[in-house]
Symmetry: D2
């Protein structure tokens, strides 16, 4: 949560979320004398400031709303965007897998709409720093806007720069973690390795399998190891206790996640040697999938 | 990362991970004059202290290992446990969905093996606090051990207490977020509501659908709204660029996730009223699923 | 395919599918002198009869279409419906799991919109028979219509009857397989068992977990064994070779599938005895999930 | 079911499945004077012949078993195999999607272990025919063995032939459907098109995304349209009514399924033209995923 948020009551400067009875949501930064215009009436901020979080308030048309603090996930899903956002289900898993936490220096490229930037800024805390690279000034304007909406702008440095030439961060000033959300991340694998401290965490997200294959080749060449590729899926349930069941639809794909760790050359050789050796053994029967012992136990069939 | 970790080189007091060529992993806290005994030889800590992270080191049998810092996910998966752990894929999503971040006060019950406690302590940063309740002293001993291994023990208060009698936290000292990982969370819904600040985040994880239904009833009674039930699934891919494909097996179920927000009574009535109204309309044709317009577009069939 | 379908060229009486360039699909039964009116012009059937399957034809507005035979899946997805259909992904799995094939006698209740009836009629072949029960005449009218559209009506007997009183089939005339697609299948478990030959296959589909639990209890009481509960999920990919990736959306839930086999009483006791014994052992630590050895191999994490 | 199976009682010549109390399964073809040796005693076939299906029988050590007919799915999962089998979840969906049914002529290559051959033979009925190509005689020996075990050998013709030279079937003798389960199906796309009747169904299964991309290119060149790529996933549940939950593990990947229809040249051009046109429009913003309107309704988030 932004450090300006009161713990029990809304205060001027807080970011608030108003939720109508039909679950329509509005995000505002509470400012004295400002007002929120909704389809169901006007809500003067002065009527909200000082109210308890989680309380019911009313518009001038007497339409009820619930006043509540947005969580990070709420902020992420509500931000204005001009490009594909990253979803909470991926963001959470990325943060934990890459070990991003308070006090760290984290690089991202590009800036996108600032939703992931916001999540990074949230996670690194007041002692941490996020450096966000992009070559498109209009992107960074939107990203800065959204990061400010979350009250986290002071932790973020935007750099309008082409990362093909490399990142500024290196050596003693190298980053703990670096995330690439760009169309051709493989072109920056070496630059990423140079900007990460030894053992630093790399991450990326890509829409197609073709791009994943390309990035895998580049990562191994650039001195990365512990490479993982995965995807997460999230399914919601209807919350009627006596008729519990999944919803009808779900998001099928938000991207493939790629993770790796920066290592020193002999360490990279060590790990790649072993992988090649194991891969070699498999190669002979790779064309025809070898017979697998499928456990026919109670738990598992297909 | 623990604040005692050097950014580029391993230092005494750091938690280190040693990875063999066959990907066997060992966690140690680097201590002068101590040694790590592995199946492939002994690694004196003195040989590791001062080495660059991501470098290759050798046991006394000349067997190679990579020295690298464990991320949060690494710590979570390697901890000794005597009960079901929570997985990184759920932990990340829980932290983002519940908006848990630096400076917060977060309550959890039970303490489990301390893996989730570690994740919470990591996320709240040096200014935050985690209070972990359990009635089983042996649980808390293990949890404390694992939280200490991560270097985060000073942020965590363990309370050996039966939460049926309620949590200590309330009013001005109420928590920002509260997570229940116990067999019968519905028995503590009211206590949880009392311990959360208004608008605070509630979360729980349960193995069976029956338990989810029971908790849903209790949450609505206890003054919670914005209730969600969901599950995440994670699938890994084999990282061979020219033969990209998912792995053969995956974890099918780690638990159902339940989230909610604490609201004031009239806010709860408002939101439940609307849900009931919509539910009532649906009820008439509920026995036979009503005809649905299934979009027959390129994207979606079944 | 219906026996009236020519193998290479469309003939009068065939069911044909016309597909526009924008993938809009139309089903017709080819009849001399009839015509198909589309949003892109009229297609007289006389112009289609005698054309090769898989050929391009044109409407009177010169708009092109492809003339092709609908597969079973095409028929299922295009049928008019007034209730939830069963999807091809479930139908295929049900047919294989229940072993439904040529020459069999299969019972279903209710008749639904006839899409599953069509699939059953297709699978049992000219020597088989499907008996379809429902208490709603309007349902059976629609079902008969759709089964006739597929040219399979002669294999199906519709019975307007309340199955609470039992099925007509029994003893020597008992069914090989029986499928219940009704809101409260647990009320008919005993009747189903009586209508199945010994060792016969039972199947059902239900939307909620609550209903599944109820059915499981009833099935065990009614003398069924080898009980399975499962769900299938299907995800499509965009078919661009150089940008291969899943579609954005997918169907999240079509129902839980329940399968069982009819056995004699002592066989039922034998299998349930063993299950209870194993269940009893687990019960002691059931409240707290026992520690599981999660394989930490390359393939599987969460 | 095999036509030799009695509907209520086991007879000589039937294929039977014996299931122990611990769910260990044994398949036998009932033959007078033969016996089945199990880890829990001997079961003379003479003691089984004439018994009711679904009854309890005992070994000479008085150990109980249930005598039941195997369904197709049971046969598939129990066959001896020397290569990757195809799973029931895929087989069912393939049969329905490709519209394979009684009376058809279906080609497959390779023969594999005969499990899919068995499913095809089952589905085409006594009037249908399956032609199974392979260049490895040992494969066909095993396949014939397994197809015979199911009592369906008379519907299957095995041809030991390299399909690079083309299939025998063409023109009036062309197939209704053709399935390729080989490592490099793209090499046979033209041959497959020649062996299918116009409008005929093509199907294939491949383990890697790379292979899928390659096949997509070949299919479009060879005159196929209506091309789909998809994958199915199946998850089982533990069948305890009061503790309903998914199992812990599941199969993550059995292969990508590719389907297509054979069309005439101008029809292929028509459909590919449209697809290219739509693809061209998308290309400009393809590098950066365009902003999508994600429905933020109750059902769907990520």
């Amino acid at each position: 949560m932004s450090p300006t948020t009161s713990r029990t009551h809304a205060q001027a400067g807080d970011i608030a979320m108003l939720v109508s009875a039909q679950n329509k949501r509005f995000l505002v930064r509470l400012t004295p004398d400002h007002k929120l215009e909704t389809h169901r009436g006007i809500l003067p901020h002065n009527d909200l400031i000082g109210q308890s979080w989680g309380s019911r308030v009313r518009s001038h048309l007497d339409s009820p709303f619930v006043l509540i603090q947005p969580t990070l996930a709420d902020l992420l899903m509500e931000t204005r965007r001009n490009t594909q956002i990253m979803y909470p289900k991926d963001i959470g898993f990325i943060l934990v897998t890459m070990g991003i936490g308070p006090g760290q220096l984290v690089i991202e490229a590009g800036s996108g709409s600032g939703s992931f930037t916001t999540a990074l800024a949230h996670a690194v805390g007041p002692q941490g720093r996020v450096v966000s690279y992009d070559i498109r000034p209009e992107m960074q304007r939107l990203a800065l806007k959204n990061v400010s909406l979350a009250g986290l702008a002071e932790r973020v440095t935007f750099k309008e720069k082409d990362i093909l030439a490399g990142f500024d961060e290196a050596g003693e000033g190298a980053a703990d973690a670096l995330f690439l959300d760009v169309p051709f991340p493989h072109e920056y694998a070496a630059q990423a390795h140079a900007a990460l401290k030894p053992g630093g965490s790399f991450g990326s997200i890509l829409p197609t399998t073709n791009q994943v294959s390309t990035l895998l080749v580049a990562l191994k060449r650039a001195g990365f190891a512990f490479i993982d590729v995965c995807e997460t899926m999230l399914r919601y349930y209807k919350t009627v206790p006596e008729r519990l069941r999944p919803t009808d639809r779900m998001v099928a794909h938000t991207g493939y996640l790629i993770f790796a760790r920066s290592v020193l050359p002999e360490a990279g050789e060590l790990l790649n040697q072993e992988t090649s050796r194991r891969r070699g053994k498999a190669m002979q029967s790779e064309d025809i999938e070898p017979a697998e012992d499928i456990e026919q136990d109670e738990d598992e069939r297909a």
